[in-house]
Amino acid sequence: MRAYTFTQPRSVREALAHADAGAAFLAGGTTLVDLMKLDVMAPTRVVDINRLPLRGIKLDRDGLHIGALERMSDVAADRNVRRDYPMIAQALELSASAQLRNMASIGGNLLQRTRCGYFRDVTTGCNKREPGSGCPAMTGFNRTHAILGTSDACVATHPSDLAVALVALGTDVHLATAQGTRTVPLDTFYALPGSTPHVENVLRPGELVTGITVPRSMWAPHSVYLKIRDRQSYEFALASAAVAVEWRGRTINQARIAVGGVGTTPWRLPVVERALAGQLATADTFEAAVRTAADGARPLAHNAFKSALLRRTLVRAFTVLAQSR
């Protein structure tokens, strides 16, 4: 860890004024402090935003509004979230560990860095950590890496469970800079790695995530987040599926689907959504709908199983949802 300047502003304006080129915002610290200890991130200034008034979990006609500083565990425990957006609570509760969920913030969760072992190891190259230094994951150990949205420069998965659920639900992210505020759909917030894997999202220099809004919908209350991994807790997803369905009897009126653990960003599957729309919820429907789910996958030496796993995770999620209808 390198020496840095530490500031604790009390207002968003003050925080944004401190956000110079080498600055990093500190919320729960579960990603930033970890990576600073590993020398992966070395900000010259740490701006502790925990005193900022970016709190609140509110449900109104427009939907669910969550302040960027709300803790994962508090959002997961919220009665309205559990009732109207069950997949959000599930995605949160399947993340990390209880200790981490008590610290980690919603804003920070959306910005967490990949768990790629090469990204975290400064003795190896990594295009995301150090542009142009290469991607050892291509030829190294890549069982947990992405098969969708990859490039020759980077195959790291996006680690967030929450973001997968939020993308499926059409969430907006609220952002602020000293110049003003703006709102961006989470679906377009994340950037594919391409040749610039160090650019992970559309945030401008010094821009701060202030909150999110999840719209009301007919499908959010009928949703599930399914996370598949080797052990039952404290592990990132090998594959995950966030599925929300608007039912008309036993027929799927429309569905919203995003998957995690397989993509370089939270991955929408509009083709699968269309294949389900208007169909009777049967095993045959599900199997047919997922046939193309992993199309375009670029498997590596150790992660080729993820194409099949992705399809099966989806079928299982559809089945769970149909059985709990």
Binding site: M1, G117, G140, R143, D230, R231, Q232, R312
Partner: protein, 741 residues
């Protein structure tokens, strides 16, 4: 009336200290002299796996804030390797790089953060060579161990049989299977750490460092530092997990001590978690091939077990997975074991959780399951048909063996009769359900070397029982107290146990699950000797009421001397005669019975797993283990040991894996998130039961070892259950969902 604590559920005597944080682990010790300011060390490790260091720029580190010293091959500390103990080289003494993650420099500074930050400023230039990393491709050599270890290969053939191949060819049914398991790590919670302090003229060194063998730790440090063994004391009362990783001393203690001697200050060195993965040893990657030849009714005619284990060029652990598994478990007229090493440029290996028996039993017990399927015989029945009453190829019998009872009791407790032999025949919702079983076997003998114990009786009716074994979290300290209370017939609360300090009489090595079976007879002898000393005081002290009596007139029972119509507690007697205490130190060692019998602990595992029909992840949902371990000293600790062992087995089967990059020699996992062991959510309630069968030979109490037994066979039980659930046989550990899709 004092009831002996022996065999009951006894809380750890140090439990309160541990949960309140009062217990001091190695890195918790302050400098013993508050005026001598402690310095902090941080290691730098190599980023190539083979080659040499051509240059190292330490100028920036030397000029960094708080830095006191930077040591490297260009500013040596003068350590010497100790032949036969741990690694075969001393770090910082030459520029050779032998594996990735090797110690190549050490920074000492006023604070640990300053040391770490300065370490990051060192730049190293290498002449790099291609590392030898492939277990499959590099040449094999015999896995010959140090003197005293069994030979790496052995063959037993029935009269008239020419070779093991001929015996296999003549068998009705042959099962052949090859297994692979990756490198595994102990991942003890406490990272390896040391505080090194010299006295003022730098002739006496005190080390605070977790050790499974405190006396070996002190001796190794002395040899590496070039001082007499008597110059080093090692203090290690609390150890945050051993699992084999604290058997052989690594170089952390010697490095810190050498810097402390040079700087004339106490030096603390704590390994970073990622450094623990390479500076400290791991369990070798192992390939194994088993061939079983049997009659159609499942009676074994031939067993062949060939193993190839990675052996680092730097040493040290000799892997012989067949010795205490295939060579002893089943009755067979023809037996061949062949254990080989493959020399690689990888970090050192070490003992780890039933080091050879856990991998060996995974292979053998999986192959036995395959034989059960090939012959159509129930897996329990198959094992009973091949039950050994003497070690194959010898007439040697066991001191005590009730494995058949373990199978029967375990099968009943578990509900084995409900199992369907046909795979995929039980489905519960989205889950395929399967059952599997396997045998556990682990050496149960006392350590052959002499050890000591001391018992002191005090005038306040308390006793102190001392023997410098280690408590790695197992409950050894409580075992000492229980044994002392039992032998002296006094309440547990009046016994103070002591261990983990080389100033105490040298005790049992905390290895091979032999701590209890080795310590118990020593404490018994020491208690008897202390009582004899007490009697001597009673008949020779003028103020004693028994002055002038004959020894035979006195008896000792439950803390009191009785004789000539009167009784007196030992404390009262000592007070009366004006003595603070009596004490006795004894040396104990097994007698001729050690070689007249074989000593093993036994057990049977029964496992139910569920495998998701869609996504393939295996989950253990029920587990029953029944063991035959002789007399139990502490029921609570025994249960915990078996439960812990089974959890290791579940992790061995399903999770533990550190892939080695063949081109770079880099290990993929370097932290406890990426190197996976089971979490609580992965473990159901484990049903543990032991037979009440004290061993009639091993020691007077009849206590054999238990610690590592639960780890042996449990991985095979999981894998066999997965086969029963899915019809998929995975011989390449860990059994992860991608192999079951």
């Amino acid at each position: 009336m004092t009831v002996s604590p022996l065999g009951r559920d006894i809380d750890r005597v140090d439990g309160r200290a541990k949960v309140t944080g009062a217990a001091r682990y190695s890195a918790d010790y302050p400098a013993s002299d508050p005026t001598s300011k402690m310095a902090h060390a941080y290691l730098v490790t190599s980023t190539i796996a083979r080659g040499s260091i051509s240059a190292m720029d330490t100028a920036a580190a030397q000029n960094a804030p708080g830095v006191i010293g930077v040591y490297s091959p260009f500013n040596k500390l003068g350590l010497r390797p100790m032949p036969g103990i741990g690694e075969n080289y001393a770090p910082l003494e030459d520029t050779q790089v032998r594996f990735r993650g090797q110690i190549i420099a050490m920074v000492v500074a006023e604070s640990s953060r300053q040391a770490r930050d300065a370490a990051g400023l060192i730049t190293t230039t290498y002449d790099e060579q291609q590392p030898r990393t492939s277990l499959a491709d590099e040449p094999r050599v015999p896995a010959a161990g140090p003197p005293g270890q069994p030979p790496p290969s052995a063959t037993v053939l029935a009269p008239g049989v020419d070779s093991i191949e001929a015996a296999l060819a003549a068998s009705d049914v042959v099962v052949e299977a090859t297994f692979h398991q990756p490198m595994q790590h102990a991942v003890a919670m406490e990272p390896h750490a040391v505080l090194a302090e010299w006295n003022s003229d730098r002739t006496q060194l005190t080390l605070y460092s977790g050790a499974q063998l405190p006396h070996l730790g002190a001796m190794a440090a002395a040899g590496r530092l070039g001082v007499p063994p008597t110059a080093v004391r090692l203090i290690s009362p609390y150890v945050g997990g051993g699992f084999g990783s604290r058997v052989m001393p690594w170089y952390d203690a010697a490095l810190a001590a050498a810097a402390a001697r040079q700087l004339n200050r106490p030096v603390r060195l704590v390994l970073a978690r990622e450094q623990v993965f390479t500076v400290v040893g791991h369990r070798s990657a192992i390939d194994q091939t088993i061939k079983l030849g049997a009659s159609r009714d499942g009676v074994l005619n031939a067993v062949s077990h060939v193993t190839d284990a990675s052996m680092p060029f730097v040493g040290y652990r000799h892997m012989q997975p067949a010795v205490d598994t295939s060579a002893v478990l089943y009755k067979t007229p023809n037996l061949s074991i062949d254990q080989r090493h493959v020399m690689l440029d990888v970090p050192p290996t070490c003992a780890m959780r039933a080091p050879t028996e856990a991998p060996g039993s995974f292979a053998l017990e999986t192959a036995m399951d395959e034989l059960a399927i090939a012959t159509g015989i129930d897996p329990v029945e198959l094992r009973l048909r091949n039950y050994a009453t003497a070690v194959p190829g010898t007439g040697l019998r066991w001191s005590s063996k009730h494995l058949d009872e373990c199978y029967r009791v375990g099968a009943r407790r578990f509900g084995w009769s409900a199992r369907r032999a046909e795979p995929r025949s039980r489905v519960d919702g989205h889950w395929l359900v399967g059952m599997g079983m396997a045998t556990a076997i682990y050496p149960g003998s006392r350590r052959p070397e002499p050890i000591q114990a001391r018992v002191q009786l005090f005038d306040d009716d308390t006793a102190v029982v001392s023997s410098a074994t280690a408590d790695t979290g197992t409950g050894a300290l409580t075992m000492l107290a229980i044994t002392g209370a039992h032998e002296l017939g006094i309440p547990l609360r009046r016994v103070t146990p002591e261990l983990g300090d080389t100033a105490l009489p040298p005790g049992a090595p905390s290895v091979a699950s032999a701590g209890t079976s080795t310590t118990v007879p020593a404490v018994e002898s020491a208690a008897n000797a202390a009582i004899a000393e007490l009697v001597t005081v009673a008949i020779t002290s003028p103020r004693s009421p028994w002055h002038g009596a004959n020894r035979e007139d006195l008896t000792y029972e439950k803390g009191k001397l009785h004789g000539k119509g009167r009784s007196m507690s030992f404390g009262r007697l000592l007070t009366t005669v004006g003595r603070r205490n009596v004490e006795a130190t004894v040396t104990a060692q097994p007698g001729p019975e050690a070689t007249q019998y074989r000593y093993h602990s036994f057990g049977a595992h029964f496992c139910e797993v569920r495998v998701n029909r869609y996504t393939g992840e295996p989950r253990v949902t029920r587990f029953t283990t029944v063991v035959d371990i002789g007399r139990v000293v502490n029921a609570q600790a025994t249960r915990s040991q078996i439960v812990g062992g089974v959890i290791f087995g579940i992790g061995h089967a399903l999770l533990e894996d550190n892939p080695l990059e063949l081109d770079t020699g880099r290990l993929a996992a370097s932290n406890m998130a990426d190197y996976m062991v089971p979490v609580n959510a992965d473990i159901p309630d484990l049903d543990v039961h032991w037979l009440d069968r004290p061993d009639p030979v091993i020691n007077n109490l009849g206590a054999r070892g238990v610690g590592e037994l639960g780890t042996v066979g449990s991985a095979a039980a999981v894998g066999n259950a997965i086969y029963n659930a899915t019809g998929i046989r995975v011989r390449n550990l860990p059994i992860t969902l991608d192999k079951l899709l």
